[in-house]
């Protein structure tokens, strides 16, 4: 019987230059769905959690979901799962574009990378033909140049690659595909760079859509989901028209928009960098991932070239968080970050932390080598992004290790706005309580897409919750985290969840694979994934005290704006959250693990 899994894993050992195709255990696949869930399971079965993330003993699992490459809305996503060199915990970074779908069209659910090549190399896959090729000529090139060169050499190939940041082992380096799509967070690009692997090209010559278990059922549920996506105000109108950057004004208006490294939470100039202004002054057209009916991407023009524009987190990070009010500089910094192959959130927030260190006199002017880290200095965000990406200047090298290590170096760790050493995104958890619990308990550290509580707390979706209350936010956080783990495992884009719920995801996965998930068992599968990641972190040496927020959010009330006076009430929410999860002291109890079949 057909299923949308290929049933094949490609194992590439870079040390001895061998490639081997292995069978995917379909029972295991169904239990962990795919993508983030199955990737974590495959990874944990092979790698010791205390491994040095940048050593040859670490491995990387690049994996699609069962809906990747199927005729479903946004069926294009893949994940990069490994141990993070930034956090020392699980990394699982998600990306769209087309590459993940092409990998499946070529016949593979996943690639496992192991070992380390002696010299720079890249992989070229054409259906069942796989070769390891010399990448000396590509080493040191930017993401776009490398992609372009490989597209010329292998006509029709879809290219995944790292940039200079991954090569120089920046701890915030991304894995990029199609030039501007990023598996951005947790330094996954550095792990690939540590293996001397520059790129993976994939060409599929025989297939352009995945066969599924029940074609008619999938067609029916897909057309139902498409209608919901089109009718929904967010996915049908808001995201296509303004992209994610429409959030700039909303989050600023509720006084929870971190400004100048979170010293303030309202920026009176934010409208100059909003989604509305981006649309009016810079938008050329929308950008679409493969099979996406939404098209939240922004294409902008820089120096006569059409390039990927910034999304919300990036606009915030390089914008208000660095005191910048000019979108032109933000567009350029975003482009530079993509060219370097670095994570825009971590890079921009590290620059913001450096600006606060400079403001307070801890970083000296002479360390800045001609480009002072002054709030609002547009040139600084572009130049320091390049210096971090290339590992240039002593300070640039230090900043490439992320804000935690930067601020520790100067003796002021409290200035780093991180959870588990990873930079926080663009919502102040003092003014929005529920997002604080998901920040603090995210298995991959500071992150908004592990349980997007902004949807109910700010956007009123699926129902409105009072943002400053704590009520039963711990229960909401758990459900959101579990559902997100499902979506990340399925191969669909998280943005579909504005329009779709667990019932639709279950129907889609069942039609594609022949599973029998219902809402409860699907959420339980998500819970299983969340707990599995937590087990990895425990074995990797996570301390329970790391489920926390930066001191600034716990002890310094918001000073200005409509959320003035608020602090995160994490200490009240956390014990209730652990109880709801069946965890004791930050980790699953034996009973919880048994209940979930772990």
């Amino acid at each position: 019987m057909a299923t949308s899994y290929c049933g094949k894993i490609l194992r590439i050992n870079l040390s001895n230059k061998t490639c081997r195709v292995e069978e995917l255990d379909l029972e295991l696949a169904e239990k962990f769905i795919g993508g983030r869930g199955l990737g974590t399971k495959l990874y944990m079965d092979e790698v010791c959690p205390t491994v040095d993330a940048l050593s040859p003993e670490n491995k990387v699992v690049i994996i699609s979901g069962p809906l990747t490459g199927t005729a479903t809305p946004t069926g294009c996503r893949y994940m990069v799962v490994t141990k993070s060199p930034l956090t020392g915990m699980i990394a699982s970074s998600n990306s769209g574009g087309k590459w993940g779908a092409v990998l499946k069209y070529a016949g593979y659910d996943a690639i496992i990378l192991e070992g380390k090549a002696e010299t720079p190399c890249y992989v070229n896959i054409v259906d069942d033909k796989v070769e390891l090729l010399d990448a000396a000529h590509l080493w040191g090139t930017t993401v776009e140049t490398c992609k372009h060169t490989l597209e010329e050499a292998h006509k029709g190939a879809s290219v995944l690659n790292i940039g200079p940041a991954g090569e120089t082992l920046s701890l915030v380096a991304a894995v990029m595909n199609e030039g501007e799509r990023a598996a951005g967070r947790s330094g996954v690009g550095a792990v690939v760079g540590s293996k001397n692997l520059k790129a993976i090209c994939v060409t599929a010559t025989t297939r352009s859509v995945m066969p599924v278990y029940d074609t008619e059922a999938l067609k029916a549920v897909t057309s139902k989901c498409m209608a919901k996506i089109k009718e929904n105000g967010v996915t049908g109108a808001g995201l296509p028209t303004y992209g994610t950057a429409v959030l700039v004004n909303i989050i600023n208006q509720v006084g929870a928009y971190p400004t100048r490294n979170w010293q303030h939470s309202y920026d009176e100039n934010a409208d100059a960098t909003s989604g509305e202004t981006l649309k009016e002054k810079h938008l050329v057209k929308n950008g679409f991932c493969h099979r996406c009916p939404i098209g939240c991407g922004r294409i902008v023009e820089i120096d006569g070239k059409h390039v990927g524009g910034p999304e919300y987190e990036t606009i915030w990070g390089f914008g208000s968080n660095c005191g910048i009010t000019d979108l032109e500089y933000i567009n350029r910094a975003n482009l530079m970050c993509n060219e370097m192959g670095n994570d825009t959130i971590s890079v921009s927030c590290t620059i913001a932390a450096a600006m606060e260190l400079y403001q307070k006199g801890y970083i000296k002017e002479e360390e800045c080598e001609g480009v002072p880290l002054i709030w609002g200095n547009g040139e600084a965000i572009v130049v320091w992004t390049e210096r971090m990406g290339r590992g240039e200047t002593a300070l640039g090298k230090l900043m490439a290790q992320g804000s935690h290590r930067l601020c520790e170096h100067y003796g002021h760790p409290e200035i780093a706005m991180v959870v588990k050493k990873q930079e926080l995104p663009a919502y102040d958890a003092r003014g929005i309580q529920g997002i604080g619990i998901t920040y603090a308990t995210s298995n991959r550290g500071g992150c908004h897409v592990r349980g997007y509580m902004i949807a109910p707390e700010i956007l009123g979706s699926p129902e409105a919750l009072e943002r400053t209350a704590i009520d039963d936010k711990h229960v909401w956080a758990k459900i959101f985290q579990d559902l997100t783990a499902v979506i990340d495992s399925s191969g669909l884009c998280l943005f579909t969840s504005f329009a779709l719920g667990a019932a639709e995801y279950a129907e889609l996965i069942n039609a594609a694979t022949g599973t029998n998930y219902d809402v409860n068992s699907l959420l339980e599968a998500g819970e299983r994934v969340y707990n599995l990641e937590r087990v990895f972190n425990q074995k990797a040496g996570m301390d329970p005290s790391e489920d926390t927020l930066p001191k600034r959010l716990l002890e310094e009330p918001i000073a200005h704006g409509v959320s003035k006076g608020h602090l995160s009430r994490l200490d009240e929410m956390l014990p209730k959250y652990y109880e709801a999860r069946g965890w004791e002291n930050a980790f699953p109890t034996q009973a919880t693990l048994e209940r979930l079949g772990l």
């Binding site: 929904n232 105000g233 967010v234 996915t235 109108a237 808001g238 995201l239 028209t241 303004y242 992209g243 994610t244 950057a245 429409v246 959030l247 004004n249 909303i250 208006q253 509720v254 006084g255 409208d271 989604g275 509305e276 939240c296 999304e311 919300y312 908004h448 897409v449 997007y452 902004i454 949807a455 700010i458 956007l459 009123g460 979706s461 409105a464 009072e466 943002r467 998280l494 943005f495 504005f498 704006g561 409509v562 959320s563």
Partner: protein, 72 residues
């Protein structure tokens, strides 16, 4: 009264509109004066705090209106 408009609600309108306050004014009446249909407003903030459209308004309030939007 200061009313801030965002996203599509700005189309063919100003970004910030000054609406004369009258006793008993609530969100619905305010939308009436602006010619905005209630179903086009998904987020209704009074001084940065979410409210339902039947919430009464004071002369010194700052109102922010958003259509359905999202991101992340």
């Amino acid at each position: 009264m200061e009313v801030r408009l965002f996203a599509t609600l700005r189309e063919k309108r100003e970004k910030v509109v000054d609406v004369p306050w009258t006793p008993g004014l609530d969100g619905y009446a305010l939308l009436g004066t602006l010619g905005i249909a209630p179903e086009d407003v998904a987020i209704f903030l009074i001084n940065g705090v979410h409210h339902r459209l039947d919430a009464p308004l004071n002369a010194e309030d700052v109102v922010a209106l958003f259509p359905p939007v999202g991101g992340g």
